[in-house]
């Protein structure tokens, strides 16, 4: 009886082009909106996971391997698998629903999340989120 589809929850996208990718809920719309009359949420996820960084790598190589490619999407709750993990990264000011209307706003939002997720990856926290789900 506890609501668990809340912002900062880590989820796995189940359907669509990004199936199998991990994402974090930025904003949830439980009651739906007029355009989408079902429960859905705005998620920011990883399109391309960062590669494995080893100690032997030079600084240039580490920088190249730690790159993260992101996506921002509105997803139906039915197409998500919630997990017990959370990722408290502040993405609310970078991403909003109207960022999905035009292409350049979407690109700007993805760039902002890319910066935040990359710095989170470099600190070494939330390691589960940045590893690819094997299936």
């Amino acid at each position: 009886m506890v609501k668990f589809l809340k912002p900062n929850k880590a989820v796995i996208v189940l359907q669509g082009r990004y199936a199998g990718r991990k994402a974090v809920i930025v904003k949830s719309f439980d009651e739906g909106t007029r355009d989408r009359p079902y429960g859905h949420c705005l998620v920011a996820g990883i399109k391309k996971y960062p590669s494995k960084v080893i100690r032997k790598d030079s600084a240039k190589k580490t920088a190249k391997k730690s790159r993260v490619k992101c996506f921002v999407k509105l997803v139906n709750y039915q197409h998500l698998m919630p997990t017990r993990y959370t990722l408290d990264v502040d993405l609310k000011d970078a991403i909003s629903v109207d960022a999905l209307q035009t292409k350049d706003k979407r690109v700007a939002a993805c760039k902002a999340t890319k910066a935040r997720l990359e710095e989170r990856f470099k600190t070494g926290k939330n390691r589960w989120f940045f590893t690819k789900l094997r299936f």
């Binding site: 009886m1 506890v2 668990f4 698998m81």
Partner: protein, 112 residues
């Protein structure tokens, strides 16, 4: 022998409580609506039949763990669970939303 007798008595009492919920309370039957009730945190108790596919059973249990909702593994298959609900179809999992007059939620969620 004593254990078998005890499970038979509690099994009947689950059936009685379930019948009371069907008459007086709110419930949903079926996998899709069970997940919906868990997502919207409306479900209060989930009952799963014993021949539920293990992947589906784990998925429902995971959702229930996130939701902190009790899961009861019914001692019978989906045919029996459908009969216990008074329906003429098979029911693999069901979610109780309002227990009505029944005390199923107070007496059941301890066991798994």
């Amino acid at each position: 022998m004593v254990a078998a007798k005890k499970t038979k008595k509690t099994h009947e009492s689950i059936n009685n409580r379930l019948a009371l919920v069907m008459k007086s309370g709110k419930y949903t039957l079926g996998y899709k609506t069970v997940l919906k009730s868990l997502r919207s945190s409306k479900g209060k108790l989930i009952i799963i039949a014993n021949n539920c596919p293990p992947l589906r059973k784990s998925e429902i249990e995971y959702y229930a763990m996130l939701c902190k909702v009790g899961v009861h593994h019914y001692n019978g298959n989906n045919v029996d669970l459908g009969t216990a609900c008074g329906k003429y179809f098979r029911v693999c999992c069901l979610s109780i939303i309002e227990p009505g007059d029944s005390d199923i939620i107070k007496s059941m969620p301890g066991d798994h």
